[in-house]
């Protein structure tokens, strides 16, 4: 059986007046059913742009998908005519965004916004769709949903707005939910509520969840697998516990050494030197090499591919990066000296 969602060698480019910015440069990942995949990256790593490409909501122009493949249960989505693509959007793959206030229409009542999905896709009557909207608002634990259906987005708090957006995304019962920084704009106590809601709903509805975030804490809390992005590529992909315990890319190692931890006293922070690269001029070879403490000559010349370090248990397959059928426990890294990095601990 084909996996829920497969992204392979995805390239996205922003074009403007003769110059091009390479936002995504060969991104690959696989999402299995019921799995939570975290896509972790700093600003400019291409995590949001790649999610928009998967959803088919990139602004073209300026952004173009120049290469790659996005398959939903084996069906290629890239290159489908817009009319057919739309049938997948919302119904099979849905997305929620960071800023619920700007993602919701300020002049429409929230009930109508949720109902719109059902009226358009499911051809429901307005009355049935609104009744269903109340159920959905209940499901995302909005208190006294029935009385709030006629409220406007500005009448909700930040956390409640995020719930409204989740209700909209779940209206058509998708198999894949892409959450793009769903809690970044929220306070920690509300963040905890929303993350709990998302994981409860994921269990209830058996969805695959792609969580896009820059927060190492949130990832550790909810994800099963993690794909770490840098300069538009995945540089390390592994089971969450494996990556945090044995990072196999110097960038992952550096990130873990630079986060302050609330549970540890007097920890020294070892920052990564420099700043994330300018996507209009990505360094040659390994894009991380100018910031890497382990960099050698080879790193500025050869682009390291994402290769398999440890296959999952019971699978002696060492065929490398191009193997499509990886077990969910595999650990891959795009560093020439990955063994050295993970062997050091």
């Amino acid at each position: 059986m084909s996996p829920l969602l497969e992204v392979e060698d995805l390239h996205v480019e922003f074009r403007s007046r003769g110059s091009a910015v390479n936002a995504v440069n060969g991104l690959s990942y696989t999402l299995h059913e019921g799995e939570t995949l975290a896509i972790l990256g700093e600003s400019g790593s291409g995590k949001s742009v790649s999610a928009q490409a998967v959803m088919g909501i990139l602004d073209t122009p300026p952004a173009y998908v120049t290469k790659g493949s996005v398959r939903y249960r084996g069906t290629e989505l890239l290159g489908l005519p817009e009319r057919r693509r739309r049938a997948y959007r919302g119904a099979n793959i849905a997305m929620i965004f960071q800023d619920a206030l700007s993602a919701l229409n300020p002049v429409h009542r929230v009930g109508d916004q949720i109902a719109e999905m059902l009226i358009v896709h499911r051809k429901m009557s307005r009355r049935d769709a609104r009744a269903r909207a109340v159920e959905l608002m209940d499901r995302v634990r909005i208190p006294s949903a029935a009385s709030r259906i006629n409220d406007f987005p500005h009448q909700f708090s930040g956390g409640m707005r995020q719930r409204v957006m989740i209700a909209m995304a779940l209206a058509l019962e998708p198999d894949v939910l892409i959450a793009d920084e769903p809690t970044t704009a929220l306070d920690v106590t509300v963040q905890a509520q929303i993350m709990k809601l998302l994981s409860d709903l994921q269990d209830e509805m058996a969805m695959g969840l792609i969580l896009i975030t820059h927060d190492l804490g949130v990832v550790a809390d909810v994800a099963d697998r993690i794909a770490l992005m840098y300069a538009g590529r995945v540089v390390e992909e592994a089971d969450v516990e494996d990556l945090y315990a044995r990072p196999a890319h110097p960038y992952a190692e550096g990130l873990l050494a630079s986060v302050p931890r609330i549970d540890v006293r007097g920890r020294e922070l070892t920052p990564i030197k420099g700043a994330p690269p300018n996507l209009a001029a990505i360094p040659s070879g390994c894009p991380f090499h100018p910031r890497c403490p382990r960099a050698r000559d080879r790193c500025s010349r050869e682009v390291p591919g994402l290769r398999l370090l440890r296959a999952g248990e019971g699978s002696p397959d060492r065929s490398g990066a191009r193997s499509g059928a990886l077990s969910p426990e595999s650990h891959r890294s795009a560093c020439h000296y990955a063994e050295e990095v993970s062997g050091g601990r």
Partner: protein, 329 residues
Amino acid sequence: MADEILCVRDVTKHFPLTRGVVFQHEIGQVKAVDGVSFELRKGETLGLVGESGCGKSTLARLLMGVERPTSGSVHFEDRDVSSLSKAELRRLRRRMQLVMQDPYTSLNPRMTVGDIVGEPFAIHGDPEGGRRTRVRELLEIVGLEPDHVNRYPHQFSGGQRQRIGIARALALRPDVIICDEPVSALDVSVQAQVMNLLADLQREFGLSYVFIAHDLAVVRHISDRVAVMYLGKIVEIGDEEQIYDHPTHPYTQALLAAVPVPDPTKRTGQIVLEGDVPSPTDPPSGCRFRTRCWKAEEICAAEEPALKVRTGRSAHPSACHFAAESGRS
């Protein structure tokens, strides 16, 4: 006490809510800061944490003398900041500076870095050895290339811009720097650079910081003492270790429990606080946290708990009638 450099006494700031354009009348008040007291000692870092709307940024503005308090006082050494004239306030700013959150909007895009960092000298007079030399020196102190004095802010990354803001704050050799979310806009890898820089500068120049942030892990890392705010009030204050390892206020406990730890073997999720922060225009009676508190009883609605040392093993002030360490830690 002699080593207190900043002393805040029962300070409040209420903003009026008005209705009407021609005939304005007051319909209520936003109690942004409502009776806050603390002191900052020389050379220490006091962390101020709380969720959005708890009044931390208003408090920063009160400390800087940008806002005048509705009541109460802010003393810098022995002078009341809120009663100073403009000229006196300007002189005070030599001693107390602000680093702001957003490195993109807090620097003038039309000024060169040299002019930005040197601007304090245009107001307060040139330093010994000349402005240019001092500016180059400052850039070097914060880890920037002194030869970049003629560049503009847009030519720098977010982390470098924050360094420019820090260099500007350091220009007049202040004693106190108020940092209002100085690393919130930065990526993790860069955030650590700026935090280490702030710590180094503190050691080198004996600075005192008031460090305002919503990120509890960042505050723990940098602070000697920590005050937790909720709806315009400090609910708990103490040493970093007392607050983080032995919190006694339920809000502090819930806040700490909500922070995800970057370690998959320690997943959070014991206390999930229900609901949102109530509006500061109409805060709950008695204890302001009681509407979300699992310990709340009748007394919490009737009587406001004072911020005082409660009995227990951890001897630091807590504003809860039932202050106690939870059994979890």
